[in-house]
Amino acid sequence: MRELRSEVLVLGAGPAGIAAAVSAERAGARALLVDMQAEPGGQIWRGQWNKATDSTARRWLSALRASPVEGRYGLRLVDVPAPGEFVFDGADGPLRVHCERAVIAAGARERLLPFPGWTLPGVFGAGGLQVLAKNGWPVAGKRIVVAGSGPLLLAAAASLRSLGAQIVLIAEQSGWRDLAAFGSGLLGTPHKVVQAAGLWRKLIGVPYRTGSWVTQALGDNEVRSVIVRRGRQIVQLDCDALAVGYGLVPNTEIARALGCELRDGAVWVDMHQHTSVPGVYCAGEGTGIGGIDQALVQGEIAGCAAAGRAELAATAQRRRRGSERFAAHLRRHFGLRAELRSLAQDDTVLCRCENVAFGAAKACSSMRDARLQTRLGMGHCQARVCGAACEFLFGWGAATPRPPLAPAGLSCFNLSTSAENPQEPT
């Protein structure tokens, strides 16, 4: 197996990971930045690496380019066989990294909830369709319904519209009271207000409904229309795609595999982003959904701390509190309504990988019971999708992650160093 050594390994090259790697190098450590995507940027800066249009992205991506940080992309973490040892799988086979300290910056994923028709081609996560489109998924001229919850809906709709899509409707499940409270709460963070105003400008003329959600997607081989509920009103809307996401959930698989303590579904960290496991730090959405400002600030702090120079992050420490306020504000105003728990029918697929129906899962007593009796969460995605859904639907906790962290070639378990390529220069 190919091998690499590094002082600080940064897992994930979104804003938090980039800030961590760049800051670790600035603080004097050698950093290795790894991501499963083909280039750095994470979800929010997808496609910005070669043509940055966002000023913050441009600043950090040029900092990364100018920094001696070594980047390895298109590699997915699949195993942590021993402390300080990380095995990745990619197109060129496995790679083993030995490091002294690690920063987890694995970001977040969308919460996808089951409803009749949600497995049809043409039904996406909201951010999901946005990032697919950023990588060339054709949306120009397509009629798209954007639905779910949270500020991401506006960003996704604006982005899809700028690529030529016709946004049929944005359906936000939160009521207008919550949204008004969220908006006025932003007055304490003026740049967020500016951002929001910018998004709204891009969405002029797009129908936006609060207290509204999709109950069904229809079509035989692809989605053709959706049924949207608003109070007692039910309407059917024709569309070519449905982009629906119910907020973000932290990606915690890596942290859990390393034994890090979680609180409220997020990785617990101290003021230096240090987790409960020695030498392991976490930055960004993994510590709780808080957006890009929190990710950058925490990345800087984690990078400095992992380099053994926590004191260099003093200014970032001051910005940390503001970003935490925004995160708490976000959580408070986009709580999911109970009606979303009854969208799935007994025969609606809940676990997409193993085709386990909602009704079969409902009869079980816990995630573990459901795994054993129905194989829920036992397929390729390893409960990344249905786990977050079950947490909302049934209140089930996540099951213990088992190796590999994602499906991996059997050669990833061959720990002997290959003879042809004993050690790559670092």
Partner: protein, 378 residues
């Protein structure tokens, strides 16, 4: 809470053995309560392969496993489809002439129990399983062996028991075993003239001195894009690995799941009681499997896990009265054969408890064989 309830039989442990006993005794008309501290079939049952196999190391094991496999076969039409019962047979693989000679001896021993098998030449082996490596000597095909998905089979047995009046209580552990009763974690007491300890590796927690050690095993399952295999494939060296000394051992044992996935076993080690996957053993497991199935080189692993086999000093289960305590019965210590022998265990225990004719000789399984150990432990 100090409620007291009373039943004829109390079963501790909702693995496949406990569930089979609950079904058997409820069917006999007894009032039964089964107590499981976690979920049904969640421990060794969940970790196991679900290979239904006749083993022939000694006459007792042969009798128990042959009887049990026949019982599964009889039960098969009633099992739910999700129990995935299949009679796809075992193919014992010989790598050389010595192992071919062992295959012949195995055929003779199996015949003593009325089990038909077929010796395969190297060419016949390759025809049966084209994915196997070239250069193997041959094998023995036991067509009557099968497989199932154990957690679903266990839960189904428990539901059958419940349909006949048994109480199935999950999520509550047994804190203590006292005279004619158990104390549960929730503070309540359950009284029963017969208490059956069927909690596998946890038996020594209730019965100090119960001669059971944990023997850790690793398994790995691939995605559906693995090489095509029809039979359960086991190397003839497997029994040496299973019954060998206290050291680590790895033997080739692969099961084709109905889904098209391959389940890869098997490893054995004592003295490691952590449930974490040991990278070194997973590596050995894979390398061993690739020697027999070279096509695995490009396969994708979906998940690896570990489990513990409840192992007795002579590798035979403990089925029968526990001599140190009146009214206490054991049905544990099945090592890697608990799924295969669950139904035979239930019948043998029920026959002893109800005073019926024994289906086969009970003496080799009598916990009393460890009486010396037990007498000072009680």
């Amino acid at each position: 809470m100090s409620t007291v309830a009373s039943v004829d039989v109390l079963i501790v442990g909702g693995g496949i053995v406990g569930c089979a006993i609950a079904e058997r005794l409820a069917r006999a008309g007894l009032s039964v309560c089964l107590v499981e501290r976690d979920v049904l079939g969640g421990a060794a049952t969940a970790a196991s392969m679900g290979h239904l196999v006749v083993l022939d190391d000694d006459a007792a094991e042969l009798a128990l496993s042959a009887y049990s496999c026949a019982r599964w076969q009889a039960l098969a039409p009633s099992l739910p489809a999700t129990a995935e019962y299949r009679r796809n047979g075992t193919l014992w693989i010989a790598r050389n002439v010595e192992e071919m000679a062992e295959a012949q001896r195995k055929q003779w021993r199996l015949a003593q129990a009325g089990i038909d098998s077929e010796l395969l030449t190297a060419a016949a082996l390759a025809e049966q399983e084209p994915a196997l490596a070239a250069g193997l000597a041959g094998g023995l095909r036991v067509a009557s062996d099968g497989m199932l998905y154990p957690p679903v089979a266990a839960a189904w047995l428990a539901r059958q028991a419940a349909a006949q009046g048994a109480q199935i209580r999950c999520g509550v552990g047994v804190r203590n075993l006292v005279e004619g009763a158990v104390l549960l974690d929730d503070g309540s007491e359950l009284r029963a003239p017969h208490i059956i300890v069927a909690n596998g590796c946890a038996a020594p927690e209730l019965l100090y001195g119960a001669p059971i050690r944990k023997r850790k095993g690793h398994l790995l399952i691939t995605t559906r894009s693995a090489p095509r295999v029809r039979h359960q494939l086991v190397e003839l060296g497997y029994m040496q690995s299973a019954h060998g000394g206290d050291g680590e051992s790895v033997a080739f044992n692969v099961q084709p799941r109905p889904s098209g996935q391959l389940l890869l076993g098997s490893t054995r080690q004592f003295d490691d009681v952590s449930s974490t996957v040991t990278p070194r053993l997973i590596q050995r497991l894979i390398l061993r499997a690739q020697e027999f199935l070279p096509g695995l080189a490009t396969a994708t692993a979906l998940r690896a896990w570990t489990g513990f086999r409840p192992t007795t000093p002579d590798h035979r289960p403990l089925i029968g009265p526990w001599p140190a305590r009146a009214g206490v019965w054991l049905a544990c210590g099945h090592e890697g054969l608990g799924v295969t022998t669950a139904l035979g265990t239930a019948d043998l225990l029920a026959a002893q408890l109800l005073g019926l004719e024994l289906p086969f000789d009970a003496r080799p399984f009598a916990p009393a064989r460890f009486a010396a150990q037990v007498s000072h432990a009680a």
